[in-house]
Amino acid sequence: MVASLSHLGRPMTNSSDILPGTLDLLILKAASLGSLHGFGVMLRIQQISRGAFEVEQGALYPALYRLEEKGMLTSEWGVSENNRRAKYYRLTRKGEKRLREQTDTWNRLASAMATVLDARPEEV
């Protein structure tokens, strides 16, 4: 599950790299691909976005706690691949539902934006 680590030399960028409001969606998506600990969520997001998105650690944990509080995620303690105790997050039913909804919304928004941005003078 270890992703490409080519960028690791530079400091983490801030969360403005990620559109506001999309962090929760990214986390839900990452967790939907399998149970993960916090660090894993971060890596998974980097991996599936092919390095485009970097989650700031400072934003990650409050977001995880918030989603857990809202019942989108559930957590349990387990053992990591390095044999350390780690907290694993898993998507709940509520989380799955939210992920589906948000995915639809996002796709509609993205295609609409794409249409808008592709517009040429002669089309107006």
Partner: protein, 884 residues
């Protein structure tokens, strides 16, 4: 959320924190491991991971904030911090808490009075909320009447929505136990009284069904706990013993529980007798079978879930039926239900408007107190600017700061509320002190501090908190981190929003105090006018007392002889000009006799039965009382049982029933007997100084079987001097007779206007308090302005301003605030003093005199408040000020 989970979160924060930390540490370790794998040495990898991650505590705080119960934890932290801050400036805290104690205390006291006097006056009675007062009404008569016993029985039989009707009629006796005789108040009640109100005697029993019927058939009494403890020394064998009441031996069958004072707001009942004993305690003969004799005061206890409107409809229907069945006595009459707080026949009614006004007044006082504390908080928030800025700089959010400030407001208000409730508790009996005792009768007017009062006070406290927290919270808006170390400077003339808010608060305080002082002035003038207004009889040089022969067990003939002899003796006393007996003293509690009348040539409207009140008076009554006769003659000893029945009418009655003709020589029918009018008297006041002129007439005592106990004496002697002489004369005839107190008729007028006195005293005290608070507020603002502008003052001095310039500068600033307050106050007072309504007597709500006095009082107070700060300004050392 399951309870266990909630508690877990609330109380095991440590453990949660621990798990959070473990999670974050895991993250860092993973990161370090990553770095190591890409070739970074282990020490360097750990260092970098930590650097990248930043402050673990910071994240922990952010994570905590996402949790539901974070609020509670931070609230406790705020609370601890708030206590520390308040502890560190005890002067500020004590002053603020004192102001709030006054404000909240005044509110809680008035709440408790309203609860204990108006809404739930009878704590010993079960389900008071279902108890309603009952009076009769007569078409064309704005006043309420009492009910008759037969009407009461019909109500009891016919109403299905009412659990029970109970009768209470206040009465009195002179209780002689051992060698001490004293006036005692009691109640004539229906037999169901104790059962219906759910009061169980602690010894013996209450009355049993049927004990309220049969003429004088059940000489039984239930005595109060106080009477049992006080006069009977708590005798455990009291049940079955006898006590002479109004000359008749009564068997004591029960002792009422402690804390039960009967059901008459204002007076503490000491004994209860069944209605069958009515004739022994009431003047006017046997009335249990007379539908026309209206003498009882009643309550209805509705069935659960029945509203007053529903019960009223049913009762009115019964009254309509009675009207049809008994037109002679019930024509034009109905029966009305009142909520307890409007009970017309006890002190609930007399105190209602006073307490309404008080409610408004205490809200004003609370606002003023809050403004004061708000100002204090502002000054302090100024001093804490640095602290706030630092907290902002290290990452606290503004919301958090506001919460902290509101928490501090809450602490202050909570202390104020605790103090306020103590004040209310101490003052719950204060109203009794303001209402004069009448002839030693036990008064009972207690405030009641129950959960409703507590809840309301808590509400007031919360409002105060919000007001208090809001003021400094506004300040955090213009905090900016960069300005933290910049020096603040403010001129004497004040600038910026902070000065504006502070000034605004002071202006509001002055305005509110102005309104209160105007109100106090208006009430004071009303009281003076009402007490100085002529009631239509002489108030000076006429003394009034009572010789209660009924209570002493005299029969009518013996009473007649006694009165004749006493009158002769009294008239022979040096200094006595004349003396006369009468059944009723005007303006006293109790009711005049009333009767349906008929007049030759007068046709009453078809649905109206003319009912007129009258008094039974002896010879020389008019000359003694100083009531002028317009024409005709007054009663003499010749108007006795054997001669022609006569009457004297007042001007209003003459005008209404004879329409301008001279009534002298005409006839009027009273209780079925025709009487000849021999005189017309000027109008006077009968039951209240405030009443409008109403028809009234007088009949001779001797022709009307009345043993009038009221003795009026025209003399220049003082009541004290007269008491000794009178006692001597009474004892010369009968050693066992006790004399009631001797008072002037002015005293009688004063007592009848005691609700006005209560209002004046309370509004006066509270407006004084408000003025003091406002003056403190003004003083605070001015002192602070001066202390903040030493630099400006020093500069002015250095440029040649003289001390008197500076004095004027500061004073004029303070007086400008006062002037603004007075302008606001005048507008508010003009708009609101009409609310005093009923309490004003012959005084316009816009009375210039009251406004003028309020102006002077406020100006003097603010001059005093500004002088010290202004004087301090003149002492500014320019060198020192500029060097600083």
């Amino acid at each position: 959320m399951p309870m266990r989970f909630v508690l877990d979160r609330l109380f095991r924060r440590e453990r949660l924190d621990h798990s959070m930390e473990e999670e974050l540490r895991f993250h860092m370790a993973e990161r370090a491991a990553d770095l190591q794998r890409s070739g970074v040495p282990i020490a360097e990898a750990e260092r970098r991971a930590q650097l990248e991650f930043g402050g673990i505590e910071n994240y922990k705080e952010q994570c905590r904030e996402t949790r539901s119960f974070h609020g509670i934890h931070s609230f406790f932290a705020d609370l601890r911090f708030g206590f520390r801050m308040l502890w560190r400036s005890p002067g500020f805290s004590i002053l603020a808490i004192l102001c709030l104690t006054l404000g909240i205390g005044a509110n809680a006291a008035v709440f408790s009075w309203i609860e204990g006097i108006l809404f739930r006056p009878y704590p010993a009675v079960a389900h008071q909320e279902r108890l309603f007062a009952l009076t009769g009404t007569a078409r064309g008569d704005p006043d309420d009447t009492d009910l008759s016993w037969p009407d009461f029985l019909d109500l009891q039989r016919s109403c299905t929505l009412v659990d029970s009707f109970i009768v209470t009629k206040i009465t009195g006796t002179t209780l002689s136990i051992g060698d001490r005789a004293e006036v005692t108040t009691g109640s004539i009640v229906s037999a169901n009284y104790f059962d219906a109100i759910g009061v169980r005697p602690i010894l013996g029993r209450g009355f049993e069904p049927g004990e309220d019927s049969g003429r004088s058939a059940h000489p039984l009494t239930v005595i109060s706990y106080q009477l049992w403890q006080g006069r009977f020394k708590g005798d455990p064998q009291i049940i079955g013993k006898t006590q002479r009441l109004n000359g008749v031996l009564h068997t004591i069958v029960g002792v009422a529980p402690k804390g039960f004072y009967g059901t008459f707001v204002g007076w503490a009942m000491q004994f209860w007798v069944p209605a069958s004993m009515e004739e022994i305690f009431e003047a006017g003969g046997y009335k249990l079978e007379d539908r026309g004799a209206r003498w009882i005061e009643a309550y209805a206890r509705l069935k659960p879930g029945v509203t007053r409107e529903q019960a009223q409809q049913e009762i009115a229907a019964v009254a309509r039926r009675l009207e049809k069945d008994y037109p002679d006595t019930n024509r034009g009459r109905s029966i009305k239900l009142w909520p307890l707080w409007q009970t017309p026949f006890n002190n609930a009614k007399t105190l209602l408007s006073t307490l309404e006004i008080m409610l408004a007044v205490v809200v004003f006082v609370l606002l003023i107190a809050c403004a004061n504390v708000g100002n204090l908080l502002l000054v302090r928030s100024f001093a804490r600017r640095h602290e706030m800025t630092v907290r902002l700089a290290i990452g606290a959010r503004r919301g958090r700061l506001v919460r902290q400030l509101v928490t501090e407001g809450l602490i202050l208000a909570a202390f104020g509320a605790a103090g306020g409730l103590l004040v209310a508790h101490w003052w719950r009996h204060a109203l009794v002190l303001l209402l004069p005792a009448r002839g030693g009768v036990a008064m009972h007017l207690a405030g009641e501090i129950d959960w409703r009062v507590l809840a309301l006070s808590a509400g007031v406290c919360l409002i105060a908190t919000l007001l208090l927290g809001l003021v400094p919270a506004l300040q955090t808006r213009d905090l900016d981190v960069a300005g933290a170390l910049k020096a603040e400077s403010a001129g004497v003339v004040g600038s910026g929003r902070r000065a504006w808010i502070r000034s605004g608060l002071v202006v509001m305080q002055v305005s509110l105090s102005f309104v209160l002082i105007v109100g106090a002035g208006l009430l004071l003038q009303s009281l003076q006018r009402i007490r100085n207004s002529s009631p239509g009889f002489s108030t000076h040089e006429v003394l009034d007392t009572t010789v209660n022969l009924v209570a002493a067990g005299y029969d009518p003939q013996r009473a007649q002889n006694f009165q004749d002899e006493l009158l002769d003796r009294v008239k022979a006393l040096p200094g006595v000009e004349s003396a006369a007996f009468a059944r009723m003293t005007p303006l006293s509690y109790g009711s005049f006799s009333s009767t349906p009348i008929a007049v030759d040539g007068y046709q009453s409207p078809p649905d109206e039965q003319p009912i007129v009140q009258y008094n039974e008076v002896g010879p020389d009554y008019f000359v003694t009382m100083g009531i002028p006769l317009v024409s005709g003659r007054e009663f003499s000893r010749a108007d006795d049982e054997k001669s022609v029945l006569v009457a004297i009418v007042n001007e209003t009655m003459a005008a209404k029933y004879w329409g301008g003709r001279n009534p002298i020589g005409e006839r009027v029918q009273v209780k079925g007997r025709w009487m000849q009018v021999v005189g017309v008297a000027k109008n006077s006041k009968y039951q209240s100084v405030r009443e409008t002129p109403k028809p009234f007439f007088y009949v001779p005592l001797r022709q009307n079987f009345a043993r009038g106990p009221g003795l009026n004496i025209r003399t220049r002697l003082s009541p004290e001097a007269m008491t000794a002489a009178l006692t001597r004369e009474v004892h010369a005839i009968d050693r066992n007779l006790a004399l009631f107190e001797v008072i002037t008729l002015q005293e009688q007028v004063d007592r009848s206007t005691s609700p006005q006195l209560v209002a004046v005293t309370l509004v006066g005290v509270l407006s004084g308090l408000a003025l003091l608070l406002a003056a403190i507020g003004l003083y605070g603002v001015m002192s602070y302005a001066v202390s903040q502008s030493t630099r400006e003052l020093g500069l002015r001095m250095a440029l040649g301003a003289t001390p008197s310039h500076l004095l004027r500068l500061v004073m004029s600033r303070g007086l400008a605030l006062t002037a603004a307050g007075i302008v606001g106050g005048t507008a508010a007072a003009l708009a609101s003093t009409r609310l005093l309504g009923y309490l004003l007597y012959n005084v316009s709500p816009r009375d210039p005199m009251s406004f003028g006095s309020a102006f002077v009082v406020i100006m003097v107070a603010s001059l005093a408040a500004c002088f010290l700060p202004a004087w301090r300004a003149t002492r500014t050392d320019p060198l020192q000020a500029l060097r600083d």
